[in-house]
Amino acid sequence: MNISSDPWIWISALLSLAIFSFLYRDNPFYKFAEHIFVGVANGWAVTFYWHNILVPSLFDPLFRQGQILYIIPFIIGMLYLTRFIPRVSWLVRIPIGIYMGYYVGVSIPATIQALIIKQAQGTILTPENFQTWHAGNMGIVWSVILFIGVLCTLSYFYFSKEHRGILGTASRIGIIFVMIGFGAAFGYTVMARISLLIGRLQFLLGPWLGIIQ
């Protein structure tokens, strides 16, 4: 045992324990720690927005180098502040409109290609796709299962008809695929959460208490 003498390590350890205390029940220590978390996270963000973005990309060119055109993005950006001034609060829609318009615009072709066309390409039954599994002759079987699975899952999310007859059967098969997928996600999530706990305990047992390396 070699308990740390660094005050910062003690601060981190005590804050960690304050969060863990939530397991017993919600309590003042936990509330205190959670509010600090949000405060510090935002302070950190402000720091880097200022030093990394606003100063080099806007204030330096505008005020030091006299590139007067930068006044335009500056003014549009400042309109975000109108959100908190009720009488002119509609002006906030201008920067939001510009940014959201562009963001939504670029997402349209990107969504079609990456999430629809490419996904369809991987599903189509062709000799090339059978090879992608590196499973020899079984590749054909896997491709067929995948193909049927995708069609059936799609039919589960088809809302324009009652699920009877063929559509009913297909959607019942579809939900089986969905549930197997959720099961896999569930199993992996167990691993994810435990990994995070391990990471935290490694810190508490290591740098703080000095029990492990």
Partner: protein, 287 residues
């Protein structure tokens, strides 16, 4: 019947305690475990390994402290791999919270290599072998702009140097000079790299993700949109295994050390699910 009665009414504090013990005890006696390397990680490894010498690797650190224990080992392993193979590296974060973790991983791995280096050629030198682009606002803007010109979007690097004065950035102008982008993220960022950088500019993308989103990302691996996929602590352990076996990198294997604890904790989970269900079925039969 008494036992069943007890088993169906375990207090949750007892459950917490059992889980805690199952994790702590294996941590007290650390022994890194070996894992079999599965195809998704193997693909990832070779995608980095085969980056031609005129191209660079971009490592995108995009996980917040919340998911760092899963993703940190991946970042370390990839950086070790790249520096050992003398692949040029650019490091960046698209969000501001992960920036600290990116800097931490980079400085640690560089120090590791430079403390063992004998000559200037052996060392990992800033501006020649790697550049820390840091963080600029607007994730999707960055993904799109770097396709035209990296230095126009990242005008200054993390340390405030003008990027167009760095020797490495004279060779690496845009995605045409990038062999692979490794995106380590606790959320959907790897998907956005595919949507924006890959579709428009043909960038190859490898993804390191938390185990929570594993099943969501597999469809992109099958279509080849991801050149590799590394999932959670197990994926990181596989990568550690790969670099040790192939490149003889002997360093701390954080993920592999955690595997025994992971195993016992999983067993605890499985046992609790089984007990819970046994109780449920007995109760239902009684009714």
């Amino acid at each position: 019947m008494k036992i069943i009665e007890i088993l169906t009414k375990i207090d949750r504090r007892i459950i917490y305690l059992i889980l805690l013990i199952a994790v702590i005890v294996p941590l007290l006696f650390p022994s890194p475990e070996k894992v079999r390397v599965m195809p998704p990680v193997e693909k990832f490894y070779y995608a980095i390994d085969k980056i031609p010498e005129e191209k660079a690797l971009i490592v995108d650190f995009d996980y917040a402290p919340q998911t760092a224990p899963e993703l940190d080992p991946m970042g370390f392993a990839i950086l070790r791999h790249a520096f050992k193979k003398r692949i040029k590296v650019l490091v960046l974060s698209l969000y501001v919270q992960p920036l600290g973790l990116a800097r931490n991983a980079l400085t640690q791995v560089v120090a590791e290599f430079n403390s063992a280096a004998q000559t200037n050629a052996d060392s990992i030198i800033y501006g020649r072998d790697y550049v820390f682009l840091g963080w600029q606002v607007g994730p999707i803007l960055a993904m799109l702009s770097m396709g035209e010109s990296i230095t126009n979007f990242y005008k200054v690097d993390y340390y405030g140097n003008k990027t167009d004065t760095l020797p490495l950035m004279k060779q690496i102008k845009n995605y045409n000079n990038v062999g692979l982008l490794a995106s380590l993220s606790g959320s959907d960022i790897p998907k956005y790299w595919v949507m924006y950088a890959q579709n428009r500019f043909g960038l190859k993308v490898g993804a390191g993700v938390t185990a929570v989103s594993a099943s969501e990302f597999y469809p992109y691996l099958q279509t080849g949109q991801f050149s590799g996929l590394m999932i959670g602590m197990r994926g990181a352990a596989e990568y550690e295994e790969m670099i040790e076996k192939n490149l003889n990198i002997k360093s701390r294997k954080k993920a592999s050390e955690s595997l025994p604890a992971l195993t016992y904790a999983h067993l605890v989970m499985i046992i609790f699910i089984v007990i819970g269900n046994i109780g449920y079925f007995i109760k239902r039969r009684k009714k």
